[in-house]
Symmetry: C2
Subunit: 241 residues, 2 copies
């Protein structure tokens, strides 16, 4: 009795791109030809088998390592991940885009605009030691006239140009993406009961389950903004794929 056929199918004839190689590797993993936790052949061996350059195999395997399917270590080789930590990619659009993508009209109301010292928790999030005053902006975003998102934001006034933009005309959000472009930050999601203020703004009962997005943004040197978005009931955040 011979072992299962087809464990190694030998050199391929047709030309293979890195996507084809990725697909073939994935197939071998899914069909358990290569078992979880197991070593797979070296890049060189695979390049030989597939009849392509090592760089092409490398590209395919790196892609799979990025998505958590493979674990690679120098010298140790490449293994099929034992506990596949799913990595999901989310797209976080600007609110206006999100609403208009649903075919609704976006509008917003600036509810509050005050310069004051934020709570310590927020200063801490922004990595600030001193108690500096920041611009506190509260905005309600509407879709077709219906309240959709309540935005609570603290903005570092030192990033503002001298005649500060009129945020009752231009949404803060959009001014930021256009002006303080592409900074780093982090994002967190949670569920929380609506506060009295949120309930009032979104026209829901207090305590209603709200989907919360919280974002902190820094420039290379200084903190820029902290924002908390409270989404009206029915909001769903979905992954691509």
């Amino acid at each position: 009795m011979v072992p299962r056929p087809c464990v190694c199918v030998g050199p391929f004839k047709m030309k293979l791109g890195w996507e084809a190689i990725r697909a073939e590797v994935l197939r071998r993993i899914r069909t358990r030809i290569w078992a979880p936790g197991g070593l797979i052949p070296s890049e060189e061996a695979l390049a030989l088998e597939f009849g392509c350059a090592r760089a092409t195999v490398n590209r395919a395997l790196q892609e799979l390592a990025n998505s958590g399917v493979l674990e690679r270590k120098r010298k140790a080789g490449t293994r099929v991940a034992a506990l596949p930590v799913r990595k999901a990619t989310l797209e976080i659009p600007v609110i206006r885009q999100e609403i208009e993508a649903r075919g609704q009209a976006h509008s917003f109301r600036l509810l509050s605009r005050l310069l004051k010292v934020p709570p310590l928790a927020i200063l801490a999030r922004l990595g600030v030691q001193d108690t500096v005053a920041m611009l506190h902006l509260q905005t309600l975003h509407l879709a077709g006239g219906i309240p959709q998102v309540f935005e609570d934001r603290w903005l570092n006034p030192s990033v503002l140009p001298d005649p500060a933009p009129d945020f009752s005309i231009l949404s803060v959000n959009e001014w930021l993406v256009a002006s303080v472009a592409f900074s780093i930050g982090d994002i967190a999601f949670s569920a929380e009961p609506a506060s009295a203020q949120e309930a009032d703004a979104l026209a829901v009962g207090p305590g209603t389950a709200l989907f919360i997005t919280e974002r902190t943004t820094w420039a290379t040197d200084a903190p820029i903004t902290w924002v908390r978005l409270s989404h009206a009931p029915g909001y769903r955040l979905q992954t691509l794929l």
Copy 2:
């Protein structure tokens, strides 16, 4: 008075890897040397400027395109994204891992295990037309004895091996990742009030705001499972970076 120095610093001396190039490109975007919506030089031009091969520039720019900072089109060239759709990557670990990573003991109780026909909404999610019976499993996950996650799952029985695993000993979740490895699916997040059953299982008041994770998984041909996780209050989902 001369214009700002350093708009174009000319050929670099030291050796640059693709990460250094990515960083430099990002810097030029953040400092608005290259404005949002604007074209940046071609790969060839950049390779010349940085004194490296075009493939190295390509690697750097592709990375930035993947993270939504650049938009690339053949012939049209590479532009700085006008509306930066933030792409965030989430790691979705297995529940046990997540709890143990916080230094708590993970345990679980299988609350229910029935073979019956799921609601139409769930059949639809799984892309099934016929009304087939599926395995309905309800599990409560605990961290250090405290209820943490309520799991409501429908499982396609045809993916089970003949003596079905005893899910009161091995968590369904873990059996799945080990056995039906690496399938595709999609994930959605939302906030919802606790149902009577959820409230009871998680020991919270009914209507409490719960963070909900909903996942659908297919194999290449057949549906595998639909699962809804209700997280106890306090749960936060955070991006890397």
